[in-house]
Amino acid sequence: MPMNPTRKRRLTLVIVIAVAAALAIGLGVYALQQNMNYLFTPSQVQSGQATPYKTFRLGGMVKAGSIQRSKDSLEVTFTVVDASGAMPVEYTGILPDLFRDNQSVIATGHMDGARFVATEVLAKHDETYMPKELKDAMAKAHADSKVKEAVAQDKSP
């Protein structure tokens, strides 16, 4: 590849700077990895991984049937579960539209004994999109009770 010395020098310089910057940013991001985890799951909290933090985010699924709303205030309690842990959560305020049984949620707050007191509850949705009819048909086909419950929730206004 014929290339004159000036261009070769510039090429080397540009590549060296780009690689050095990539390396620096890569190492920086790698070092931040611990802090960049957006949330802890209930089992992570129970194994003590969130102890260094006063305030942190708790993420997991709302356990079906665990939502209890107070009659005279905006207070609501529910249980957040992951594969192997469960955590009771208390929250006062307006919940997002997608909040319901079996929904992934992210709650920000702190521990009060064994209970997590949330100051903010966000709903997380997944990357799957489908028409309601398809979802219903799938629910019918599956005997899976969890899917059935989710659809039952969908139908309620």
Partner: protein
């Protein structure tokens, strides 16, 4: 000049040829953009079925997702053009890199705003500092940095060189934006559309999305052609070919 680059590419790299070709390409690209955009938006906003959990609110993806793709795509083009401009000092590559920045910044801004509007009803918040949202915001600042640096110099070519370096260094953020949702626990969901694999979306939702994507690509081409042409005229204002262009335009 190196012999391994095809001759037509060399020719296209010369300002007068590019000026002519870009002028011919622009209306077609703009027409394609308008056509695909109209079809895609009609398909997405009217024909596509509502989502099983988000209802009609998910339809914002027909704007949000193509814009997000463009924010990364344009950055990649800008970075590549800046690389060519820095090493080979090709004037046209400088122009392409610097004129891509405002278009990319606009798409990034649209991505952030539509994402925010979508986030409020669905997630329950306008903004959160998760890895995807933060890296996309950094992308906007990189674009703004490139634009700012370019205009901070008296000499345009010197400005393009400095801004080009920033563009190349910032390209590291593009894979971070793309894979942030797999590398970290984020509030933002993962990718729905996969080029190499199964997309998590039925065809009647997917085709309008791909149509709008085509429209945004064509719009970028059209917009870049126009911006680059204007820039070339200004950069080469003393040259013969510009005088000829001016005389023909005036003679009309």
């Amino acid at each position: 000049m190196s012999t391994w680059i095809p001759l037509w590419l060399h020719k296209l790299g010369s300002p007068p040829t590019f000026y002519r070709v870009a002028g011919a390409v622009r209306p077609w690209a703009m027409g394609l953009a308008l056509l695909c955009g109209a079809i895609g938006l009609y398909g997405g906003l009217v024909l596509a079925p509502a989502d099983y959990q988000q209802g009609d609110a998910y339809r914002i993806i027909f704007i949000h997702v193509p814009s997000a793709w463009m924010s990364m795509f344009i950055y990649a083009v800008m970075g590549a053009a800046a690389f060519v401009a820095l090493v080979w000092r090709v004037k046209l590559a400088e122009v392409v890199a610097m004129e891509s920045a405002p278009i990319g910044a606009a798409f990034t801004f649209i991505t952030l705003v539509t994402g925010s509007l979508w986030g409020k009803p669905m997630w329950g918040t306008w903004w959160t500092w998760d890895a995807r949202l933060t890296s996309e915001l950094v992308l906007l600042f990189l674009y703004l940095g490139v634009i700012g640096l370019y205009h901070a110099f008296e000499d345009r070519r010197q400005g393009a060189r400095a801004a080009g370096f920033l563009a190349i260094i910032g390209i590291i953020n593009v894979p971070i934006v793309h894979w942030s949702v797999t590398w970290w626990n984020t509030l933002h969901q993962g990718s729905t559309v996969n080029v190499f694999g199964h997309s998590k979306m039925p065809w009647d939702m997917l085709w309008p999305l791909l149509m709008v994507m085509l429209a945004t690509k064509a719009y970028y081409a059209a917009s870049l052609c126009r911006r680059a042409r204007t820039d070339l005229l200004a950069l080469e204002s003393g040259k013969d070919w510009v005088r000829q262009v001016a005389e023909t335009e005036a003679g009309r």
